[in-house]
């Protein structure tokens, strides 16, 4: 093996990708109140400040509720669609599946304002439920993409074999299908959870007076004095998402191993 220009380029690319993330802990532990170089010294003050900010706690709780419900709903909807798409041919399949996957390429601002306008015109107040509805819409395509992988890795005749040996369609689902796609389900739950937790635009348009974590952060970005605290929060969020991601990846690999497949790549 030799190292070539491509390898050097890729390494540089990775360095740039990580550049912003590297700054995060620098400023989170920086004693200076201004987010600028040079650094002023080490402090844990900003992390401590996180603990006594009730508005932050409320926003976090709100975000967690939204993310959990979104993950569950999108994964259920994703299960239906992924199963239909991998197992059956039906008229208009490409169109129907394409339409369900549309939010993947639609600018989020479009989804957000169309939902907002419908709510406003119907005279409904937006809030937690409307955010969950919007997040479920944009997370479902991700769930489908992950679950489709799990379903298509599974030989169709496995289910037929179970039915052939006397199981009902439901018990076949429970005994064969579910165990074999469960790693995909868990990965889908985690990914949807992470996307929802981080989503800003839809939440921003629909949150009303119950901000989610990103909406709360957005508000804080306007106050220079609050920025170091935001950095501390960001550091924690980075660590959390990386942890979640590692868990999701582990499950995905375990799933591959379970059905005896070679690992061929990452998510999506």
């Amino acid at each position: 093996m030799r190292v070539n220009a491509l390898a050097v380029f890729t390494v540089l690319y990775l360095l740039v990708l990580y550049a912003p993330i590297v700054l995060l802990p620098m400023f989170a532990f920086n004693a200076g109140t201004v987010i600028a170089f040079p650094l002023q010294g080490f402090t844990l003050e900003w992390f401590a400040a996180l603990l006594n900010t009730p508005a932050l706690h409320e926003a976090t709780l709100n975000s967690l509720i939204i993310a959990i419900l979104t993950a569950v709903f999108s994964t259920i909807l994703g299960l239906f669609a992924a199963r239909a798409a991998t197992r059956y041919g039906f008229p208009g399949k490409a169109g129907i599946v394409g339409f369900i996957m549309l939010p993947l390429v639609l600018p989020e601002v479009i989804v957000a304002i169309s939902l907002l306008i419908v709510l406003m015109q119907l005279g409904l107040t937006s809030g937690t439920w409307s955010i969950i509805a919007g997040h479920t819409l944009i997370c479902t395509p991700f769930a489908i993409a992950i679950l489709q992988g799990s379903f298509s890795n599974m030989d169709k005749s496995l289910e037929e074999a179970a039915i052939d040996l006397g199981e009902t369609p439901w018990s076949t689902f429970r005994l064969i299908t579910l165990p074999l796609v469960s790693p995909g389900i868990i990965a889908s739950l985690l990914i949807c959870f992470t996307i929802s937790l981080d989503e800003f635009i839809i939440a921003f348009f629909l949150s009303g007076n119950e901000p989610t974590l990103p909406v709360y952060l957005w508000g804080q970005l306007r106050f220079p004095a609050r920025l170091p605290v935001v950095m501390a929060l960001g550091t924690i969020l980075v660590l959390l998402s990386v942890a979640l991601l590692i868990v999701a990846e582990t499950f995905r690999r375990r799933g591959l191993k379970r059905v005896g497949l070679k690992d061929t790549g990452g998510f999506l």
Binding site: D155, S157, L158, E160, A161, A162, I163, D164, L165, G166, E167, T168, L175, I176, P179, L180, R258, V259, G260
Partner: protein, 368 residues
Amino acid sequence: MSQTSTRTPIVTLTGVQKYYGDYHALRGITANIGQGEFFSLLGPSGCGKTTLLRAIAGFEDISEGQILLDGKDMEGVAPNRRPTNMVFQSYAIFPHMSVAENVGFGLRKSSMSVAEKRAVVGQALEMVGLGKFGARAAHALSGGQRQRVALARALILKPKVLLLDEPLSALDKKMREVMQVELIKLQREVGITFILVTHDQEEALVMSDRIAVMFEGEIAQLDDPETLYRRPKSRRVAEFIGMMNFLPARVLGEAGGRVGVEVQGLGPAELEAAQCPSGATPGAAEIGVRPESLTLLYDGQTAEGGREASGTVREVVYYGDMTYYDILLDGTPAPVRVSMRNMPGRRVLEFGARARLAWDPRAMVLFG
């Protein structure tokens, strides 16, 4: 034992039709399959073998016709309620279970105690020669072992009919031959009706009691292997099973149950009615004769009844135990293939040599 089985029928197919949208996959299949029979569905790719097998198993609804299993109409009966079990082409071994769990999968709802179940699974594994493999993870098995697990799993419920969809096609040639013999033995041992789908004519001939040759969703001929080989009903069946020479001929007429023909390159012959599956109308026809029914004559040998012809060797293919010759008979446009067993005293002819051969009218089939 031939077209109609003497056994009590266990599967009765009557006018079975299947459409996939506009595509007519099964065009009226009618057949009886007997109790304890080893029955094969043989045909080229896409002729509907798998479709028919899956219709019997209940995985495909048929569009018309009737399927009786053990005398009961199967319409609307779900696959899990049919007295059939299947060995899938991909084997469909559950990857998240051990070998023993796979084999015992069908026993979940039975009233047996855990110990009894374990014993039954052990016997089944023993039967397929995997006695020590029960605890193995299913995805850590070789192709041949997976096949045995699939067999044991399907047989454990003692189905009335075992359906096998190209069970040997994923194995290499050696392993395939071993498994062919084992399958025959196993079938005799358990006495269950086997319906085997294959596109390998040799496999079908070796293993089956009767074979249904299918083309484009229809059964072209249903017979025991010997009849199928010796008396194919159509040129297409003859071409599909083994090798056959086709020689232009003229039907001269019929007298006393015997048909007189003039075969180009060979001469006049008299055939029995059984040798004319599609009748014998006077005029142009074709004679089919298998390579091993033509015999090379070496120096000094003569043919019985003077039925001999001569020509030039155009191709020599040496197989070790056999040699195949393509011989262009004098006065014919295309060569015929002749196979000779290599024995002491039989030298291998060379390309371009003159050759004489003897023929036997009893080994001929007339196609109209």
